[in-house]
Symmetry: C2
Subunit: 374 residues, 2 copies
């Protein structure tokens, strides 16, 4: 059995320079072969990276043995059960102890690994993460944050929540702003991220009362939370450059994410089709290939694969269910970068101070509004 | 002054074969020149089309005189006021009597024209349409429906509401389903449109209680409403082929629309960039030009320009504020096709019968559920 015995394991990249990522090998649409191929690619690129891989021992052992990059860097933990895409979160919470997903989270809970990666069922992964890792003190609703291609210099914007919870009140939205700012600082290396609150117009009188309340709360906390609040933003700003972090409830965020993904895929498919419709189309497609590849690489969702669960005691990266080798490797890279930045501890500290802010805000919100940084 | 005196004017294309469209020349980002260019293009393509054009007489007269296609087919109605993009709907309702927008709706109200087209302020246009044309009997909230490029054979799906109102209860969503089905029948020529209700998952237990209530109401009315109900759909189905009409509240619909638009624009811009980055990129771009043009024509938002206001006594098409000649012409074409199909009267009949359905549904909803067509 491959094991980590030769390497010391650390929590956040300080002390030893090795980072351990816990990976759920099962539950993705392409099975464990794609997952092992993905972590092998990551292992090749990042020599300081080690893995604990969870799933059926015999099957995983065979796949891992074929990859020389993983030799001595990938410990396998046997788990016979698999969470399927159809399993209800409540079922998995009750009966999922033998699953690879449960086992993968256990390694983070026990501090053997700094972050977990799974391609499995999102609802089940969030439910298990909540009961195994528990919410950070002061967090009411954890959120899923994704990176979306944008016109900003960093190439991506953060959007949250994209579906951890369908509801969010004003205080939840403030916490999303603080968690999103922390993610943007650590994941996108932005010193003072610009936060926008998603609405149907940029005027202050637009939208639901909860949104206006959230506007005031976020605005009042901008200076102390070390972010800039740009106010209300619209759907077009998600891929835009008006802000770096888009804050919204999980219902709206999920619809926006899937609409954007679906539209992008339709365009790329139609583009491919327009290059195969005729002989000249195919010829020009061949000649245009390098430019098209450059383009595809830039917008390829597999290269920005990974929703991060924020607000838990530990980092969990949800890879797309259909992720292939490239997708899995992108998710592992994201987990590695966040682990390397000590993100989990930084976020915990940020949210703890935010909790105090929210407590005091309920009374002083209106007074401090004028002094805040907008 | 150009006038329509030589042509008889009809309401819906029956009787005489001429269709009159009322056009607000002002309020768009590109000014009246783009509007006049757009209607001239439409006049050239559709010999049965006449216009009443609203705005400052002298300026419009000069623009129209330059277009021989419009000779004898475009009556100008003087209106000195302009609704700007910044004007609040409430202001326009109180003080907007002298505006070209108000005047354009008046021609539909007085049955001189079958449909109105405006590139102006959406909120003001909806507010004025509500007070001047009034809601259809039985309609609680009018909706804005748009066409979105899709993988369906007809090339487009209908989505509503995209922003007439930020709220919608279960009965409103049923009315949107009925109005959307009517629009798809008349605008996309689909005999039995497939309706989907937008949610964050396709399982019946997902989403808010209002959505589950709407699910039951729409399901129970599918057979009598002559549509097929496919159940819950996700953001990815908006450009997909699971259904033809996507029903949602105006907040979610507006965010989805703008996210999709923004993402599509980002992709097209990045594609263009990838063809100009190097000499070979530019060369291959040149060679790939015909295929790229085919592609752009297919996804060009200017060619599907026009949100239709549903649930009013009369058809109003809201063109994009930044519409150029091509965009205005597309909006006029949509208004023409709907007028030609007698859409306004058909929708009114459909909603009137729907009103009865909703009345009876409140009691018999659960009983009829099993018999409905899903």
């Amino acid at each position: 059995m491959t094991s980590l015995k030769d390497h010391s394991v650390t929590q956040n990249g300080t002390g030893s320079d090795r980072i351990v990522i816990s990976v759920d090998a099962m539950g993705g649409d392409r099975g464990p072969a794609a997952v092992v191929a993905g972590i092998a690619r990551s292992a090749h690129k990042n020599p300081t990276l080690d893995f604990i891989l969870h799933g059926p021992m015999a099957e995983l052992q065979m796949l891992v043995n074929k990859r020389s990059e993983l030799s001595g860097r990938c410990e396998i933990r046997h788990a016979s059960g698999i969470v399927s895409m159809e399993d209800k979160p409540s079922q998995v919470m009750r009966n999922g102890k033998d699953t690879s997903m449960w086992s993968a989270l256990e390694s983070v809970k026990n501090k053997e690994a700094t972050a977990a990666v799974s391609c499995g069922n999102t609802g089940a992964l969030m439910a298990l993460s909540m009961i195994r890792l528990r919410k950070l003190p002061g967090v009411n609703r954890p959120a899923i944050a994704i990176l979306w291609p944008s016109r900003n210099p960093q190439g991506f914007n953060v959007m949250l929540d994209v579906g951890a919870d369908i509801r969010a009140d004003a205080k939840d939205l403030l916490q999303y702003a603080l968690m999103g700012a922390s993610y943007a600082r650590n994941g996108l290396d932005l010193k003072k991220p610009r936060i926008g609150l998603l609405n149907v117009g940029t005027e202050q009188n637009k939208g639901f009362p909860e949104l206006k309340e959230a506007y005031d709360l976020i605005e009042a906390n901008a200076e102390r939370g070390q972010f800039e609040f740009v106010g209300f933003v619209e759907g077009g700003d998600i891929p835009g450059k008006r802000c770096d972090v888009i804050v919204t409830d999980g219902f709206t965020g999920n619809v926006a994410l899937k609409t954007g993904e679906g539209t992008a895929k339709l365009i790329v498919d139609q583009l491919r089709e327009s290059f195969t419709q005729s002989f000249f189309g195919r010829l020009s497609g061949l000649i245009a290939l390098p430019a098209l590849k450059r383009f595809q690489k830039k917008v390829d969702p597999r290269r920005v694969n990974g929703g991060v669960f924020l607000g838990l005691n530990g980092t969990v990266v949800k890879s797309h269910g259909s992720a292939d080798e490239t997708g899995v490797s992108a998710a592992v890279k994201l987990a590695f970068e966040l682990a390397n930045a000590g993100f989990s501890d930084r976020l915990a500290a940020r949210v703890a101070s935010a909790d105090e802010l929210v407590q005091s805000d309920t009374t002083e919100n209106r007074d401090t509004k004028d002094k805040s940084n907008t």
